[in-house]
């Protein structure tokens, strides 16, 4: 029996000595990184011009981020069990006057690069002028660009201020399509009375052009009266 115990003790010494003793008596709770996050990066540009869009809002699941001056964004995204199982998350990219993008992506650990191009939705007032044709009459021109086509434009208006007998009146004058330069660019035109029998004299130094399209997107720009 002594030999048996002797062999057992020798065996135990060999086993205990052979293994990493600290591992079997101590503890370690240190890992390189246990907070599993992914980085989602990319940029947002305008589809038609290719120029970066700043302050675009990106919503990945419940998390929100914005683009910087270069149209770039960065989001640190915590990975959940659903993401690990390739559950797609909803992404919403939006910026006022642009059509919103809604899509689904799968987030991977490490780097995720997703670039988005937004379609400009609103009409754009490119230029406008006011030409005097007589003492009492002028013509207002406005060139409007709409990427969705000229036919998408609902109405174009000029806003002018008159004064007669001490009373100021703001008058909205609709502009009508005159020349269509291309399917999405057209010149709009209207006569503007310099001295109106109804409202008095045109006193405005700055006049305004507003344009509204059929989806409700609008653009407004101020122009200086040349005369």
């Amino acid at each position: 029996m002594i030999t048996f115990r002797f062999i057992l003790i020798i065996f135990l010494i060999l086993v205990v000595g052979g293994c990493d003793l600290d591992k079997y008596t101590g503890y370690n709770y240190e890992g390189e990184s246990l907070i599993e996050t992914a980085r989602i990066t990319g940029n947002v540009t305008n589809t038609f011009t290719g120029t970066p869009i700043l302050r675009a809002t990106l919503k990945f699941g419940n998390l929100i981020t914005y683009t910087d001056g270069e149209g770039d964004y960065l989001l640190v995204y915590p990975l959940g069990t659903g993401d690990e199982r390739n559950r797609p998350i909803t992404v919403v990219v939006s910026r006022p006057n642009y059509f919103q993008i809604e899509t689904e992506i799968v987030v991977y650990p490490d780097k995720n690069i997703h670039d988005f191009a937004l379609i400009y939705a609103a009409p754009i007032i490119e230029s406008s002028s006011l030409e005097l044709i007589s003492q009492s009459e002028a013509i207002c021109y406005a060139t409007i660009l709409d990427y969705q086509g000229v036919d998408d434009i609902e109405n174009v208006e000029g806003v002018f201020t008159y004064e007669g007998e001490g009373v100021q009146t703001v008058v909205q004058i609709p502009l009508n399509e005159d020349i269509r330069f291309s399917p999405n660019r057209a010149q709009f035109i209207s006569n503007v009375e310099r001295i109106s029998p109804l409202y008095g004299d045109l006193i405005t130094k700055v006049y305004q052009i507003t344009v509204l399209d059929k989806s409700g997107y609008a653009d407004t720009r101020d122009f200086i009266r040349p005369f």
């Binding site: 370690n28 709770y29 890992g31 990184s33 246990l34 419940n62 390739n86 799968v106 991977y108 490490d110």
Partner: protein
Amino acid sequence: MRTQETLFDPFNMDQFSSRSFVTLIIFLVCSACLKLNAQIGGQVIDAKTHEPLKGANVELTVSRIGEITDQDGFFSIRSNLQDINDTLVVSFLGYEVYIIPVSKYENNSLITLKPISLDYGDSVVVKAEFIDLPKKEIPHASEQLTLREIENYGTGEIADLFRSFSSIRVEGNDLDGRSIQIRGSAASEVNVYVDGVLINNLGLDNSADLTILPTESIEKLEVLKGGNLTLLGKGAFGGVVNITTKKQFNRSMGFQAKLGSFDSKYFLGEVNLPITSRFYFNYFGQFNSFFPQIEYFPDELFSERTENKNIETTKQNHNINLNYFFKNGQFSTKFIGYFFDYQKPAWENSRENYLISTSYKGSLLHINDFEINGSYFTSADNLVRSASGSGEFISDFNTRRLNLKLLKKFYLNQKIELHILSEYFHDELEDVQKVRDINFQESLFAASLWENRASFGGIFSFADQLQNSSYVSWKTHLGFRGDFVSNGNKDFLSTIGAQVDINKVDWKLSPYANYGKNVKYPTLFENAYIQATEKINLVDTVFTRINPEYNNSAEIGLDFTLNRSTFLYKNLSAHVALFSNTVYNKILRRPFDFQTFYYQTGRNVTRGVEASIKLHQVLNYFGLKLDYTGLDISDPLFYPFKPDQNFGAQLDFSLPVGFYFTGRYFYQGKSIAWYLNQEGAIQTQTIQEYNDIDISIGYRFHIKNIELTLQTAGYNLLDSSGFQYYYLNKRYLQVALSIKYY
């Protein structure tokens, strides 16, 4: 993408017409009247010394009914399901196995067991006795399910079996693991043992995955309820599940094939081989493939479902048992392998789990009544995600647990017993994430965590009879346990319990009570997470040190059995218990912004009542069980999705040869769940109650030594639930054919 649950309805249940049901019931009753009732009894003694043998195993192999001999070696198996082809097997440690066909057995005779002797002519006195830990625990509520009931249930998932227990809930799926909850506890607060080996995982949730074993390989399922079980229940605030796998000592083999909804296929096989009179070999294997049709996304809320027809899962279970009987003990080695593969486009998860356990129980080197057990449990979880353009993302998650256990029984005198247990645990996990392309491989992060723990515990039990009245006996238990974790945590806790048995001729009443304290240590991940947040200064709103969770629980209960047979039923057993569990320092994980915050301010009180009544042999062949559980959880934030009420009704009908039937109706009451809204605020939602029915019908018959069983089973027939969002709830039908050769 997301649809309601009506989507998954592969079978139309209207096909079951009421007329065929009535015909079936008439057939069942007719075949019931043809069978006769019987009882087998006898006494087991030592062939040499003629002393009665206490604690010998007596088993009927075909009916699968077993018993253990009493103090004087007597046994009596009550069975109306008597079968002419049955075999009586009597086995006891250190003795040769006694096998006799029932047809040749003369009832109430003396069975003499020959001691196994290594040296000829040297008689051996065996003092060894199996230490049945669940029976030695302090008095508590317990329930069990035996082989025949498990077979009649006809399910392939262990989790489904637990539905027939009262106050137990099951949740999960193959991918998340199927876990059980006892009396409103979390899944992590239940310890699951397979033949004495703890199988709770080392991942974040610390729960046990019950898919590791196929149901057909189980001999007995035992549930011990209560939060202060001394020897088995460390950290188990809910209770303990003890699974005993099949070990048949007679030569037999079997094969089973099952086909079911969702293209599921099961193939099972078993071989039981006595190699010598002392050395026994058992193998059990299962192969399963399945197309779940939905995604398992744990973060989906409530009734959200995502359909995906491209998912395929395969499962393999292998179970080998080797038993060798020495003259004074038993040496056992067990191997369990569980392999799981889940595939969908661009995503594949494969898992390998191995459990190797070796134990010796009996006497050795002049030390009597002890058990030594060493086990090694490893799991490897490999996930490959292929992203178009960025290569593959690989996650390797490996865990290893080494457990050494020593059990010893001392008889201090006739009235006092002491059972002691000392244990050592080495827990280790590795988490490696990397990105791989054709040209390069880069590690994203790696963590290797480990921890060691030593425990010792013991139960003193004092038993005595009341003076002047021999039918009243009582037993008090005093349990204590000390735990030492390598990180410096240590606790010394104790429990007390008492039970009184009032034994009359035809009834028995046993009131019991227990009170105690339990501790649950934070998991490796929880500890590591706190260290990681500390490092990057994210600790301003949470604690910096994680504390163990504590539980105080008290229970009073009453067990009653009545053996007075009436024309309606043969015997009746009833159980009622009142319990209260208070948990302190409960850890709550809550995501906020891009971090997960841990809060440890939790205190929760769960109070409840549990009652069940069981009628055996109603009209000879039926069994009826009713159970009810009511729960009151004070803080549902820590215990969400726990129904406030559970009710179950189960009806069984069983013949040894011929038809058998098991039907179970269950009801789950309202529960409260919570989620975080878009602003990160906690929103609670009340989940509506739901009902369900599971049915299994089978027919079994014998041709000489071959037993054939044809069975059909249906689950979730009334499925109206949508809340167990990670439980695969759907109607499921299955047809099974099994062949067994004895």
